[in-house]
């Protein structure tokens, strides 16, 4: 179901933003490779990026929620429920990560809590979140491919350079 206010320029921006979000999520999922400090700051940076992602898809979210219990294909309904679970899992991973943080909390002047429960919760929720992202990407792959097929013609026109 396309969002009511979809335009080629808006779609191009959305695709770029999605690529940025996906790249940051992959980087944040590799604390052994990036180092704990980078992992924590990238994860904090993910919060505004995800918020903008949700704002960009707001029309789709509202339109799908309104039709949730009426005329909606099963795939779209599943997609919507999956996105909601993904959102909750993202918050669970972020909250548990902040509570077991070793860099971000001390950097803002708060003591680091060494809580075994939240550390375990972070590992579980982050692993489940990463697997859920794989399914989320698969569910939206047709939109991504359709956008890529349209090519640069639909991309926003760059400002002309002054001669």
């Amino acid at each position: 179901m396309p969002p009511p206010n979809a335009t080629p320029a808006r779609d191009a921006f959305k695709l770029r933003w999605d690529v940025l979000l996906f790249g940051l999520l992959v980087l944040a999922a590799m604390p052994h490779a990036t180092g704990v400090a980078a992992h924590e700051w990238i994860s904090v940076g993910l919060v505004p990026v995800l918020t903008v992602h949700l704002v960009l898809n707001w029309s789709w979210i509202i339109a799908t929620t309104r039709q949730m219990f009426t005329t909606l294909p099963g795939e779209t309904r599943f997609n919507h429920v999956w996105d909601a679970l993904l959102y909750v899992m993202f918050i669970a991973a972020t909250v548990s990560g902040l509570l077991s943080s070793r860099v971000v909390l001390p950097a803002i002047g708060l003591p680091s809590l060494r809580d075994g429960f939240w550390a375990m919760m972070h590992v579980v929720s982050a692993t489940v979140l990463t697997c859920m992202i794989g399914i989320h990407v698969a569910l939206h792959v047709r939109w991504v491919l359709a956008r890529l097929k349209r090519g640069p013609a639909a991309a926003p026109t760059p400002a002309k350079e002054k001669s």
């Binding site: 992959v26 909250v95 550390a119 375990m120």
Partner: protein, 102 residues
């Protein structure tokens, strides 16, 4: 622009509400049990390290950053994201194919 800002604030407020609900998990009985198990493990590890003092060794050469990166990348992108993605695509293709053929 103001409309987008309002939506963003609404999303952040909803996130705070969900976060507060998730924080309540820490007060449950099984969370306390997990903390006790974790503390017991740490105590046992400390006792073991105290009784089996390892001989002093010189630290080895630092591990290559690219090797560590490659390992993390494969684990995350191939196993954690790629496999569920491929399985879902296969399942979607199968259901679409089944629906197309009556």
């Amino acid at each position: 622009m103001i409309q987008h800002l309002r939506r963003g604030i609404f999303i952040l407020l909803a996130s705070v509400v969900v976060a507060l609900v998730i924080l309540q998990l820490g007060n449950l009985g099984w969370a306390e049990r997990m903390r006790v198990i974790d503390q017991d493990k740490q105590l046992a590890r400390a006792k073991y390290q105290h009784s089996h003092k390892a001989p002093e060794r010189r630290p080895g050469p630092p591990r290559s950053t690219s090797q560590r990166y490659a390992r993390g990348f494969v684990q995350v992108v191939v196993f954690e994201i790629g496999l569920p993605c491929a399985a879902t695509l296969g399942l979607l293709a199968y259901t679409r194919c089944k629906r197309a053929r009556p």
